[in-house]
């Protein structure tokens, strides 16, 4: 055996401490044909960790649709890639950084952003936008949340927000959108999911496949230190206990300036034509990058750790291989052209060192000063790791009765006070205080930043000519509460809402990325949730024509045995061919007509066939008890996610895209959290200029709307059933909109008008139920988050 003697002899106990089961350890010995040394054990343990190997999710992920005529690269590379026309491609992916963000919110969030940005520019694409999907515990005390708990959650939120801002702002990528939601279950387990989008010319795409025996392997970027060792295996692949704060040394530390240098240097080095392959060092650092590049390319690889730039002295091979120091890349260049590549990195002041070479035969050989520290067949290590068919058990059905559900206010009750409460709840309130801490306009592409449109919209400049061709829209969505009540339906809603948001900005949804946040896969109920969610995502993506091009699974989101809600977050990407046709949510002109578009109404509500008024009311109450209003006003979270009709969603999406491309509407806003009333109010608020100075100045537009429907007023105004949107229309265009809607089999009903800003009024069945000056509503909505969070 050629491996170097090491001080620690590996025993089954040490293997177990590394998170390897007895079966996994036996498999390690079988692959090697001998016992591993400690470095090899470390390598196997990170590569086969849940985080890196997807061992519990793999069998389920296969059910996701990943192909489509625009998909250039599906899951398996650093990011998914889609064709966006004119020889340009978009690379995009969403990833989680949940565990580190709980242990150390600021650094956890920064390195989450840093990691996803590297995934994008590793492909040769320059990042042009970031979105963040965040989940925290409740930040105001209330049912099940003490003031101490709320204060802790506010501190976590503050650290995460500052972390995201600090990294993206310095790097120079605009943070253009995302969402923030609050539920008690995220109190011990916040979710930080970051999505990045980049643009490249098709011929400039790069992949992480090592090729050409003899080609040099080059290490570039930051030096390797002892930070983040076992971040992927021990931190991200295990649940939290009371001692989790001791894992702080496992969290990586980010340096956005270094990443900016790395970006520019990598893109410039790629232009030399001398780069064969490139892979970032993220989770599992040097281990993952060497082994995966070799495995994908069907080659071997040999590196000498003595040549790796190190931040500290006396690092062992084990530490160097497992370090998760940030802002590092591994690349393969053409033999004989090393100097060109090294020259570029020197220009940018970065370390770049030839540390090894591509070899034939498929062995990853790690040397340390000439002696062999580890020798492992790359492909079995990367691709033949454990795969689990974890037990799946559906939970017992909940037994609920009428008294568990929301009970509606009597007909004619004034709802303005409840509406104010809803507008001021952290879930619905303006997120301006958060998003203003992000640079949203750098790169001068932002056509619709946070809150301006249902999706974030950025225009695309050709990387070579700067010519503006078209725009891309992105939205991330996911409702954990609904998924906890019905994982399959909740997951469909997540896809549908993201796609609907993209369509409401005027763009055609073309592809999706997913971040699947769950509890422990070792719990059969969690695996049931996971399996259901996969089926829901798959079905929705199939119907809506948005294949999944990549993403990430985050298990073990639990603390002291309590899991988070199953929380799939879906990012949908859309194309807008005409950059001047971006739809925003703001009402634009007094006198415009407000129309309610409903993809379902044309065919009737298939889920509901009431026998009596009593049964009808029950069915409304069941559907309503999972709404934001029910949670905020009545502290009730129960029953079912609203039913979903994917065909209706598709009709509405197609209709919105057509309306936008015809330029037929002045504004569009989908109906989601908080229902129709919140949707209308937000379109009024957005008509005000969004500056501090303008807080005191108008004009803000208002709305006067009459609604008539079956059921109670609260259900009609605050219900969150999908497949609906409001549009405002210039009176002269009024005939065109219903005509277009009819083509798509979508109902378009006039419900009112945009009026001057002094009034916001909703009548239900002829009686005014909400009546207020727009400004008092806006104040409740605009300043509530700031009031809660400013003291941080």
């Amino acid at each position: 055996m050629a491996t170097a003697p090491t001080e620690i002899r590996v025993t089954p106990e040490i293997a177990a401490e590394h998170g390897l089961t007895a079966e996994e350890y036996a498999r390690v010995k079988q692959i090697l044909g001998r016992e591993p040394n400690i470095t090899e054990l470390g390598i196997f343990s990170v590569m086969w960790s849940e985080h890196c190997s997807y061992k519990s999710s793999k069998v389920h992920l296969k059910r996701l649709p990943t192909r489509g005529k625009l998909v250039v690269q599906g899951p398996g590379e650093n990011a998914g890639v889609v064709d966006i026309g004119d020889d340009l491609v978009a690379a995009f992916k969403i990833e989680s950084h949940n565990h580190p963000s709980y242990v150390e919110p600021f650094q956890g969030a920064t390195t989450g952003v840093g990691g996803i940005l590297r995934d994008i520019f590793t492909m040769g694409a320059r990042p042009i936008a970031v979105l963040d999907s965040l989940r925290f515990g409740e930040i105001v005390p209330g049912k099940g949340t003490s003031e101490n708990e709320a204060a802790k959650n506010r501190r976590i939120l503050d650290g995460v927000i500052r972390g995201i801002g600090s990294y993206g702002n310095c790097f120079g990528v605009p943070t253009v959108g995302g969402e923030v939601a609050f539920e008690p279950c995220y109190s011990q387990n916040p979710l930080v999911n970051a999505l990045a989008l980049g643009i490249a010319r098709k011929e400039d795409l790069f992949f992480a496949k090592a090729k050409g025996a003899g080609n040099p392997v080059i290490y570039v970027g930051a030096k390797t230190g002892r930070d983040g060792i076992h971040g992927a295996s021990l931190l991200a692949s295990a649940e939290f206990t009371e001692e989790s704060q001791q894992k702080r040394p496992n969290v990586q530390v980010g340096d956005p300036f270094m990443e900016k240098l790395l970006l520019e240097a990598c893109l410039e080095a790629m232009q030399t034509g001398a780069v064969v392959a490139i892979q970032d060092m993220g989770a599992a650092g040097l281990t993952c990058s060497t082994v995966e590049m070799a495995s994908r390319g069907g080659t071997g690889i040999e590196i000498d750790l003595a040549k790796v730039p190190q931040r500290e002295t006396g690092m062992t091979p084990y530490e160097i291989m497992l370090s998760e120091s940030q802002e590092r890349m591994l690349l393969v260049s053409e033999k004989g052209r090393e100097a060109e590549v090294l020259g570029v990195f020197k220009k940018w002041g970065l370390d770049a060192v030839v540390v090894g070479r591509v070899t034939e035969g498929g062995t990853a050989r790690i040397k340390n000063n000439g002696s062999v520290a580890a020798e492992i067949p790359a492909h079995p290590l990367a691709e033949e790791g454990p795969v689990y068919h974890r037990p799946i058990v559906a939970p017992k059905p909940r037994v609920e009765s009428k008294k568990d559900w929301f009970s509606f206010a009597p007909e004619g009750t004034a709802l303005t006070q409840n509406f104010l409460k809803l507008l001021a709840s952290p879930a619905i309130a303006s997120k301006r205080w958060i998003t203003e801490q992000y640079d949203t306009s750098v790169r001068t592409n932002t056509l619709a930043g946070p809150g301006a449109s249902d999706a974030a919209v950025v225009r695309i400049k050709d990387p070579k000519t700067n010519e503006v061709k078209r725009a891309l829209a992105l939205s991330t969505d996911g409702n954990g509460r609904w998924c906890s009540l019905n994982p399959r339906v909740g997951a469909m809603h997540a896809v549908a809402e993201a796609a609907r948001n993209v369509a409401a900005s005027g763009a055609r949804p073309i592809a999706a990325t997913n971040c699947l946040n769950f509890g422990s896969p070792e719990k059969p109920e969690v695996m049931w949730q996971f399996s259901e969610v996969i089926d829901g995502v798959a079905e929705a993506c199939n119907v809506l024509g948005t294949p999944i091009t990549g993403g990430n699974v985050s298990f073990y989101n639990e603390t002291l045995g309590k899991s988070i809600y199953p929380t799939p977050v879906i990012g949908v990407l859309g194309i807008l061919d005409n950059v001047s046709r971006v739809l925003k949510i703001a009402f634009r002109n007094e006198g415009d007509v407000i129309l309610l578009l409903d993809g379902l109404a044309a065919t009737g509500h298939s889920e509901r066939s009431p026998r009596s008024e009593e049964a009808l009311l029950s069915s409304f109450a069941r559907e309503f008890s999972s709404s934001e209003y029910s949670k905020t006003v009545a502290d009730i979270v129960a029953s079912e996610a609203p039913p979903i009709d994917l065909a209706a969603e598709k009709r509405l999406i197609d209709c919105l895209v057509a309306l936008a491309s015809e330029g037929a509407v002045e504004s569009a806003h989908d109906i989601s959290d908080g229902g129709l009333a919140v949707t209308l109010a937000e379109s009024c608020f957005a008509s005000a200029p969004s500056t501090v100075g303008a807080r005191h100045a108008g004009p803000v537009l208002g709305a006067s709307v009459k609604v008539d429907a079956d059921g109670p007023a609260e259900h009609a105004l605050f219900g969150e059933r999908g497949a609906r949107a409001i549009v405002s229309v210039f009176p002269e265009n009024l005939a065109a909109v219903p005509a277009i809607a009819r083509q798509y089999n979508v109902a378009a009903r006039e419900i009112g008008n945009v009026i001057r800003g002094d009034a916001f009024r909703i009548e239900y069945k002829g009686r005014a139920v909400i009546e207020s000056a727009v400004e008092s509503l806006r104040k409740a909505w605009a300043n509530s988050l700031e009031r809660v969070l400013k003291a941080q």
């Binding site: 120079g172 300036f257 270094m258 949203t440 225009r459 500056t691 100075g693 100045a697």
Partner: protein, 236 residues
């Protein structure tokens, strides 16, 4: 006429300034690398926004020692037009080409949003195409934009009409209410005594097209073009 946009390794608004001048105004423009002492015969130099050398120490503190700044100082001393935007403004203060210094925003947070600024002086190469009192809607994006200076210098600046841009509300009625970062006298932009070097915290390059929410920032670059055209005519 040629503009030069300096590229420090951490500049991240360099492409944006280049785009506003080259693609929107369609004037010749090129990048100048921070390690170069050759300003490539440019007639005006832009120090763009970003984080020059990471700015972990103090914004612009290291950038002032870069090779390119030696040439920029000489260029400015000979009357050349130099505009510092955001980080560029910070660097000009550190280099002593403009008075004062930047401290953290009064709210101690990064702020990115549209602000309103009033053009206070139009007899500068950076504002000559604007009208006095004109209110511009332009975004800011910074943590350290709280410009400050000693009282004596401040009085002198006001007296010499070197305060060229001031934060205000959209209707221009309340400067204090429009100040996003606590800058003394609500100052958003100043010029030097000779009026050929200016710095401002808002990003005019991000407000160069209506599609981005405002085209008000273009007037700054247009003014520079007019000043250069005027200077060329005068020497012809």
């Amino acid at each position: 006429m040629k503009f030069g946009v300096v590229v420090f390794p951490g500049s991240n608004c360099d492409h944006d300034a280049y785009y506003a001048i080259g693609n929107v105004l369609k004037k010749p423009v090129e990048f100048i690398w921070h390690q170069s002492e050759d300003l490539a015969n440019c007639d005006a130099i832009i120090l763009p926004g970003g984080f020059s050398y990471g700015d972990y120490l103090r914004t612009g503190a290291i950038a002032r020692f870069s090779p390119v700044m030696k040439s920029v100082e000489e260029f400015a001393a000979s009357g050349g037009l130099v505009l510092g935007i955001c980080n560029g403004f910070q660097i000009l203060c550190e280099a002593g080409l403009l008075p004062g210094a930047m401290i953290r925003n009064s709210g101690l947070r990064f702020i990115c949003r549209h602000v309103y600024i009033r053009v206070e002086q139009t007899d500068t190469p950076f504002t000559n195409a604007a009208s006095k009192g004109q209110i511009l809607k332009i975004p800011i994006a910074h943590s350290d934009g709280n410009w400050t200076v000693d009282d004596g210098t401040l009085a002198e600046l006001e007296k010499n009409r070197q305060v060229i841009l001031r934060y205000t509300t959209p209707d221009g009625s309340n400067d204090d209410a429009g100040n996003p970062n606590g800058a003394v006298h609500n100052i958003a932009g100043i010029c030097n005594h000779e009026r050929n070097v200016a710095g401002l915290m808002p990003h005019p390059e991000r407000a160069s097209e209506a599609a981005l929410g405002s085209a008000d920032g273009l007037v700054i670059f247009r003014s520079m073009v007019e000043a250069l055209v005027g200077a060329a005519k005068a020497t012809a």
